[in-house]
Assembly symmetry: C2
Homo-oligomer: 213 residues x 2
Amino acid sequence: MSEPTVIEPGFFEVIGTQRAMRRLKTDPVPESYIKKILWAATRAPSGGNRQGWRWLVVTDPAAKKQIQGWYNELWSKAIASGYGAGAGLPEEERLSNERVMKSATYLAEHMHEAPVLIFACTLTGNGDITAGSSIYPAVQNLMLAARALGLGTALTTVHRGHQDDIRKLLGIPESVETAALIPVGWPKGKFGTGFRKPVQDVTYWEHWGEKRP
Amino acid sequence: MSEPTVIEPGFFEVIGTQRAMRRLKTDPVPESYIKKILWAATRAPSGGNRQGWRWLVVTDPAAKKQIQGWYNELWSKAIASGYGAGAGLPEEERLSNERVMKSATYLAEHMHEAPVLIFACTLTGNGDITAGSSIYPAVQNLMLAARALGLGTALTTVHRGHQDDIRKLLGIPESVETAALIPVGWPKGKFGTGFRKPVQDVTYWEHWGEKRP
């Protein structure tokens, strides 16, 4: 595989600055970059190492536009029904939530402008939360690798409301789940640290509720 | 936070050599290392950036032994009922499966010897596969960061068969899901590339089934 020529940032720098990048440029992404982030995805662990994932890369403008239409319809409905309303959140979280919702709406309206859409598919079907343990680690590897190469991504699942239509459009078998839709492109904004709660606020030691500084 | 003093491997080296390490030494892990990998976990994305995760770190020998007992009971039952039987798999996958099953059985018998067990908990409850999209990316960050520091981990979910007992033991509320149990320790073996299918075998372009070299 031809290696993208980039100055590779350090591991913890990548970890600390990977965040959803929902405003993407229309500029194309070289195929070697797409293959590199997919390589990273496929290095992830999966239950019993079964690797029941398939990655479907979509760059066709007509297909992207169709997918964006469905996505935007679902996103608009979700917002209208109160999804993401941040009333009652602490101030810092409320402001973060406002930013997230605004950029998520931008993404819904501009999804088709992303040069690449990637569907993370699983052959092992739907199930409870643990079904996700064999696909989302790979999705995270993909997004981290994109960050390392300077590419923006976001993990979205809203499209699943039109999953059957998407299956028909792209020939995906009914038994296959599309666990995530990941737009990929060069970010308009800069990478940086998103709002995150301090580790000590979300970590307990030995027993639920027991914090340490 | 005090930074562990390690030579940090490159980002793609970490991605390419993180695999389940199920044979762990009993040597203790400094708290600064645990905090560092939890920091990495908490940098991950989550739906709406809600960060509904809690990390429960268990080092108490009696608690670890109790958890191992439950885990081993569930693992033995799973094996007895045919879980992980690799008959019919292609040769390379069959051999990989044998290795995975053998080391997973080792882990079930020795889980309590790991110096640290971490429960990845979610406040947002169970649900379908997408419920996992807000916790397993963080779990993957944790495991990658552990790899970067030389620590071994494995993503396990078998404990969930005794989740209510574990909730009682550790004071975890009923509304909280334990999405993963991750043993952490210094590995007995070496990091390296696990068996993974070639990227081009699991990647489709524009339409399901369409491969590219």
